[in-house]
Homo-oligomer: 253 residues x 2
DNA sequence: AAGTCGTGTTGCATTCCTTGCAACAGTCAT
DNA sequence: ATGACTGTTGCAAGGAATGCAACACGACTT
């Protein structure tokens, strides 16, 4: 749309391949050296481009600063909320969104079930970290040593007969979750309540949040709930895509 | 230098603060909405800007991709080499550059001493990980659990009486190194050889490489070598700055 | 339902900004 | 010294970006 800007921005991917000098940039842009010079200067003033000691140009530090600032200002909850609502409208059950912070897993959003049931969860409240599906998803993504360090530090309360009993079992469960890309809690916290969950990933592939659908088995059986898994995963993936700023199909055209 | 590009690039830091709609962007740029629209469109085509579901604009995924590709294409050794040579010319001793990879620490560059001595090191060769100054620097930067996991897995050969004896001592040494920002190896590998080293950091502050100066004490005493510390640190910092694309003083003007 | 505000979007004429050229200034090798 | 190579600057001409005004669309209010 804007020729000048278009040309200037085309320099960035070019430099991402590696440092280049003025002539190379001008050639690959198909413009005169002086034109390339002025574009590079403008990019340089904004810190997007850095001139190294051999006079060649590379991408500059500002780019990293921008990228970092962008992720920090991103609010998963804001982006995820409409998706959670849509999911709730499709299946009717309680939908949770949670994040991992300081050795705790916290609910940061919740859409209530449309069935007349209550669940003991509250936004801002730490979840039962050893059994909840969202906790498993978030912790499964940690590097192995951190995962292990955390697992041995935790208490393993026996909420029910199906609660995770100890660190060994927990680590095994996390490995499974990491492998399959989704998690469940089948009566591990409250005997009659089941959950299925899936991870939300950031642009670097790391898990930044986790969502789950919960329902008491007086409403649906565990098997029926598990049938929702594809839908849950698709929702989580949609959130991931939007969160990481990728438009589903447009990106590569 | 180029008004159009200048305006377009000014949008990026603006969006880094958080999502904004067309009107806000136009206002803060001091241009007509239609102008802002066309600039945003161009940025969008290049993927630097992403349009979220509520029509507001944010920074896009391409920015992250570019930043990542840029760091991958960066070669520490290439950037560091002239600095290593300069350091060698100033002090005359052997200078090493090393990186951490797969639970090993490898020398990736070396400038030979100008004194007639030999050192048993070779580019590409794993270093004595429990005693070398460069190893301490690289491992000290790991997250605590990984550091501990690695420390207990290592063997602690007694090269000399001053070699690190066990994991406990090693972890204590790493904590000290992490704290002070530099490291030494005083006869821990070979009785008569001392080293001082300092870390090279990337744009995110993490240690990406480590450099050291080594000399046998038949040439200089440990104290004399330690007197070089400020020089070594300054060199490492210079490499860090150049590697992370920050121009020393210009950046904040 | 009509009306109104608030968005984002498009065509178009004017004008200013970008462009390529050619000449210049360095640096390095021959 | 001389040549070839880089990066750099002034200038005129043309084209591209700009702001305007009008339009389209949806969300609210009345």
């Amino acid at each position: 749309m804007s020729q000048t800007v278009d040309r200037a921005l085309s320099i960035l991917p070019l430099l991402a391949e590696g440092p280049a000098d003025l002539g190379q940039v001008a050639d690959r842009l198909g413009v005169h050296k002086s034109t390339a010079l002025r574009l590079l200067r403008t990019l340089h003033e904004h810190g997007l481009v850095h001139r190294q000691s051999d006079q060649r140009y590379r991408l500059g530090a500002r780019l990293f600063a921008l990228a970092q600032q962008a992720v920090e200002s991103l609010d998963v909850r804001e982006i995820a909320h409409p998706h959670l609502v849509a999911l709730n409208e499709k299946c009717g059950h309680t939908v949770h969104l949670a994040v991992h912070e300081e050795n705790e897993v916290l609910y940061i959003d919740k859409v209530e079930s449309r069935y007349p049931v209550r669940m003991y969860s509250r936004i801002g409240k730490p979840v039962a970290i050893t059994v909840a599906a969202v906790a498993k998803l978030l912790l499964a993504d940690l590097p192995e040593p951190e995962r292990r360090a955390l697992a041995v530090k935790l208490d393993y309360p026996r909420y029910t007969a199906r609660s995770t009993p100890d660190a060994t079992a927990f680590l095994a469960e996390l490995a499974k979750v990491r492998e399959q890309g989704w998690a469940t809690d089948l009566g591990g916290h409250e005997e009659s309540i089941n959950c299925v969950g899936a991870p939300v990933r950031g642009v670097d592939g790391r898990v930044v949040a986790a969502m789950s659908v919960s329902a008491p088995n007086v409403v649906v059986t565990a098997d029926e709930l598990l049938a929702l898994l594809p839908l849950v995963r698709r929702t989580a993936d949609a959130i991931s895509r939007e969160y990481s700023g990728q438009t589903p199909a447009k990106e590569t055209e």
